[in-house]
Amino acid sequence: MLDRPLSPPPVEVIVAVTQALHREARLLDNEDFEGWLAMLGEDIGYLLELKSRRFRADRSKPLPLGPGVIFNEDLGRLRLRIDRLKSGYVWAEDPPNFIRRAVSNVEVLATRAENEVQVHSVLVMHRNRIDGTTRLLTAGRTDLWRSEGSAWLLAAREIVLDHAVLPDSNLNAFF
């Protein structure tokens, strides 16, 4: 088996992908949803599963149909969410909320595919809503980024949200 460790990706790749993560955060902060969609692969999988707080030694069986999700989106479903946000009828987002994303702890790892890298990162999302209520959400992300021509596209993202109880009355935001 070719099981020897993969060499780290070239520095240029690490820089390009890290820059893509920062650019993505800026586009979302600015509600440039079309710009963000253009950074996604056609086959994007965008997943945030529900979880529960369980004892380490818990012996219970997995749930028959799985945990359920907060997001389980393909490109069409992300577009559907964005169409709703842009419909002019989402009163919770008007006036717009102040939202800022900070991306950190970026680790770019090689995969077996030459044009793909796995990327771990942490997202801190600051949302200042309505009359000044501030919510801070943190999440871990594991991505697959793919190089297509001169661009890096997000091909898959698995999000882990660090909150057992969502501390806000909506999640009209992407991680």
Binding site: S52, R53, R54, L65, I70, R81, V90, A92, R129, S169
Partner: protein, 450 residues
């Protein structure tokens, strides 16, 4: 306080004082007279299928563990060590042979018995009577077709009597198909800065907000007609549905088309196929009215005080009060066990899409409910009233259905009955003073036909 409560709600005119959302003394009284007295939903049997399976929940602000016993029965206890009061279980759910307190190591078996005390002989000199220090059980625990409820009041009516004619509608989910029902997925928990009554009111009767508050979501995913409700609240078909109340404080909204529960599924086809393949079975079990018109339709069921379930949209929800003006909203997807796995999976998926934590619809409601609460707290607003006075006096009997019924899903008929029930409980010293009513009861209708 009672004179005050009498003045705070007028169900004949549909008036509520905003103090019922903002006055902390009223909230403390609700914990006693509503959450301390009514039957409260604890768990669905599907969530704790095997011996030792447990689920943590709340009755009012009291932390509860519900545990499946070795003999298959279900017991519920306060999640509090009888020694110094510490929480004994900090997990949401799981399977356990015992619960051991983190503080001093007292250990309780699933039947609530105090099974182990460290240094029992050395430090207590063998003089501790363990039989007096078992976990405190919920006074009454009972099941209705898979739904487990608990009640603190020994003098409450039986669960069957408490549910009354609301069972007619509950059975449209619980007993439509022979395999019964289940809840799916992990608990979807959200904190909301709202008084607990406002989300109950929103779902128990308020079809009025749908086409306006949820216009963005409707424009994104609506694939079928729902009693003429449309984006921008531009139309409504009052003949297409019913607002049913006057059933011991329980309320139902129901469309009558047998399919519109799935109006907000981007691809409802597989579920519509399941409905049509099994409709005759349901007609045989529940009769023509429920089998043809209600099963599959948009149905909102509210069991007083804090349980709401919507067969069709398939979300099931309880609201736990978390102090004055704050709640946790807990949601699960609901399915029938006879559904093919692919249909169940689609239901879980769609429930999360529409009424999950990032739900296209759910994310429209939170800010409205929070703001209604906040706008009851000002020095001036706390002295003001709010109104549920739509379609006053336009209700009556409908052949084949229980309850006092107003036409359509857009009415404020149900909300008036919700606040009436709230007031009845808040003014009553005990269960004997709480009126029981099943208006146009099914039993009376049967007697008339006999």
């Amino acid at each position: 306080m009672n004179a005050n409560i009498a003045d705070l709600v007028d169900s004949r005119t549909g008036r509520q004082s905003r103090a019922i959302y903002s006055d902390e003394a009223i909230y403390r009284q609700e914990l006693e007279r509503i959450f301390g007295r009514c039957w409260l939903f604890l768990v669905h049997t599907s969530q704790i299928p095997g011996p030792g399976d447990y689920f943590r929940t709340f009755m009012g602000e009291d932390d509860i563990i519900v545990i499946r016993q070795k003999d298959g029965s279900i017991k519920a206890f306060l999640n509090s060590c009888t020694h110094r009061g510490n929480r004994i279980c900090r997990a949401d759910r799981g399977n356990a042979r015992a619960f051991t307190c983190n503080y001093h190591g007292w250990s309780f078996s699933p039947d609530g018995a105090l099974a182990g005390v460290p240094l029992e002989n050395e430090a207590y000199f063998g003089e501790l009577d363990r039989s007096k220090f078992g976990l405190v059980p919920v006074t009454k625990v009972a099941e209705y077709k898979g739904l487990i409820f608990g009640c603190w009041d020994a003098n409450s009516p039986s669960l069957e009597d408490y549910l009354g004619d609301a069972k007619f509608f509950l059975d449209v989910w619980l007993d439509a198909m022979p395999g019964g029902s289940a809840l799916l997925g992990e608990t979807q928990k959200m904190v909301l800065g709202t008084n607990w009554k406002l989300p109950v009111e929103n779902v128990c009767g308020d079809g009025y907000h749908l086409g306006w508050a949820h216009a963005g979501a409707m424009s994104a995913v609506q694939t079928m007609d729902l009693t003429g409700l449309s984006v921008g609240n531009s139309g409504v078909d009052l003949d297409g549905g019913l607002s049913v109340a006057g059933m011991n404080g329980h309320m139902v909204l129901s469309a009558l088309d047998g399919v519109s529960g799935y109006a907000f599924y981007p691809d409802p086809k597989p579920i519509l196929e399941y409905l049509e393949a099994n409709r005759q079975t349901v007609i045989d079990r529940l009769g023509e009215v429920r089998g043809k018109q209600v099963w599959g339709a948009q149905v909102n069921i509210t069991i007083f005080p804090n349980l709401q379930l919507l067969p069709g949209l398939n979300w099931f929800r309880v609201y736990h009060p978390k102090g004055h003006g704050q709640i946790e909203q807990w949601t699960w997807a609901m399915a029938e066990n006879d559904m093919p796995e692919a249909v169940k999976a689609q239901i879980l998926e769609n429930q999360c899409l529409t009424f999950g934590l990032a739900g296209l619809f759910d994310n429209d409601d939170g800010d409205n409910l929070t703001a209604c609460t906040e706008q009851s707290r000002g020095w001036r607003t706390a002295q003001m009233d709010v109104y549920t006075n739509m379609a006053l006096g336009r209700s009556g009997k409908r052949e084949g259905f229980p309850g006092d019924i107003a036409a359509g899903l857009v009415s404020e008929h149900n909300q008036r009955y919700f606040y009436r029930r709230w007031q009845e409980h808040m003014m009553a010293q005990n269960w004997a003073e709480v009126p029981t009513y099943n208006i146009n009861s099914l039993a009376d209708q049967e007697a008339e036909h006999a």
